[in-house]
């Protein structure tokens, strides 16, 4: 009996390992962040599907381009970071403000109880990325945008930015725990939710992640929902409600990509 149990858990672990490897292989065939593509390229994925075809048509009146992100569970954070930093390249005063906010965020997280020692590395890399996309660069915005694209496709930078945004999100959930507790389903406490669903890499994001991050950074995000819902038009949500959008994302069940409005 005992030896069977032992084998079972070994086998479970092997199956999980195999599954992870398959997912990894699929995911790594997509770049972390793709080049700009025409929005209409989405049509090819839903050939012959009337609901989606009509909705893509509708969406293309508002957005011309899309930039895809790797479907690795980090897509919301990666898409958000890329899109907002891209916005900042041509908005110097917002850039300066964001840099200050990012600089002071580390102390805030330490005050909230995050370990300073392990936080350091992620904060440093995050600040370096911000510095490298400074709008003051004499090479001009196009060159800085190329730099941004390069950085976000380098795993060591791209993933560390994701980690740091996860920590900011987790910090916000803790800071305003009374408020966010209402959004959490099931038996999770805020504490458990942060450790289980926010801080670890590769865990997918839900509304609560988006609201907490946008609120923490003061950045408006519009998400367009492309799903099988009725009506022929794509429904959009602004986070936080009533905010002015700086980041535009498209959500298809399980995945976020970046949108470019006309």
């Amino acid at each position: 009996m005992e030896s069977i149990d032992h084998n079972d858990s070994n086998r479970d672990e092997m199956i999980m390992q195999q599954q992870r490897e398959i997912e990894k292989e699929i995911s790594e065939s997509t770049p972390l962040v793709s080049e700009l593509m025409p929005l209409t390229c989405l049509g090819a994925e839903y050939n012959g599907d009337d609901v989606f075809t009509a909705k893509i048509q509708d969406l293309s009146k508002k957005y011309k381009f899309i930039r895809r992100t790797r479907p690795d569970g980090n897509c919301f954070f990666r898409a958000f970071a890329y899109s907002y930093l891209e916005y900042l390249i041509t908005n110097n005063s917002a850039y300066q403000e964001f840099q200050k906010l990012a600089e002071s965020s580390k102390n805030k997280l330490v005050e909230l109880g995050f370990p300073s020692f392990t936080l350091e590395d992620f904060h440093e890399t995050f600040m370096e990325v911000i510095k490298r996309v400074c709008p003051d660069n004499p090479a001009g915005p196009d060159e800085v945008k190329n730099e941004l694209h390069k950085i976000f496709n380098e795993q060591g930078y791209s993933d560390y930015v994701v980690v740091y945004l996860r920590l900011i999100t987790s910090g916000k959930l803790q800071e305003d725990a009374d408020f966010y507790q209402h959004f959490i389903e099931g038996d999770y406490s805020i504490e458990e939710f942060r450790h289980q669903e926010v801080e670890p890499m590769y865990k997918e994001s839900d509304h609560i992640h988006i609201i907490a991050l946008c609120t923490a950074l003061g950045v408006g995000v519009k998400v367009e929902y492309l799903d099988r819902g009725e009506g022929g038009t794509v429904k959009a949500h602004d986070f936080p409600e009533g905010s002015e959008s700086k980041v535009y994302l498209i959500y298809r069940p399980g995945h976020y990509d970046i949108l470019y409005p006309n």
Binding site: H6, T118, D121, F122, T125, D159, Y160, V163, K203
Partner: protein
């Protein structure tokens, strides 16, 4: 500089050397390879593992600290949360979702702000207080629960063995 496992591991090694927690020593086996560490863990006082010094090996993945290391005792061990081959099975060594043992929601999980130190401290707590709900070694879990004295005497024998005393 881009985030890197090597830089982080070097920083953790330095920290553990300068300010080691009581009863724990850890570092790379060879300075040529920071992805393989040896750890020595003193059996916690007031437990059946008291007096023993238990060697273990930690293997870090290339994307550490995004993913956790694996840990394995290299001495004989008999404990509900350690597999017969020495692999340590506690929640902090797993990301959520990666769940061979069905850990509780409140169990501490791996995330990039955890550290080798946190893992080793969890292992010390695990030695002191086995979790018999998630049995990596079912024999040990049953014995721990039902025949504690027998468990203690096996533990004491393992303690003496780690000290090179065979009697």
């Amino acid at each position: 500089m881009a985030g890197s496992a090597l830089r982080r591991l070097m920083a953790e090694y330095k920290q553990l050397t300068m300010d080691p927690p009581e009863g724990i020593a850890a570092g790379p086996i060879s300075e040529d390879n920071f992805f393989e560490w040896e750890a020595l863990i003193a059996g916690p006082e007031g437990t059946c593992f008291e007096g023993g010094v238990f060697p273990a090996r930690l293997i870090f993945p290339p994307d550490y600290p995004l993913s956790p290391p694996k840990m394995k005792f290299t001495c004989d061990m008999f404990h509900p949360n350690i597999f017969a081959d020495g692999r340590v099975c506690i929640s902090i060594l797993h990301a959520p979702g990666d769940d061979p043992m069905g850990y509780e929601l409140s169990a501490e999980r791996w995330s990039p702000v955890q550290s080798v130190e946190k893992i080793l401290l969890s292992v010390v707590s695990m030695l002191a207080e086995p979790n018999d709900e998630s049995g990596a070694n079912v024999d040990a879990a049953i014995m721990w629960r039902e025949r504690r004295e027998e468990f203690n005497s096996i533990a004491q024998r393992l303690v003496r063995k780690t000290l090179g005393l065979t009697t």
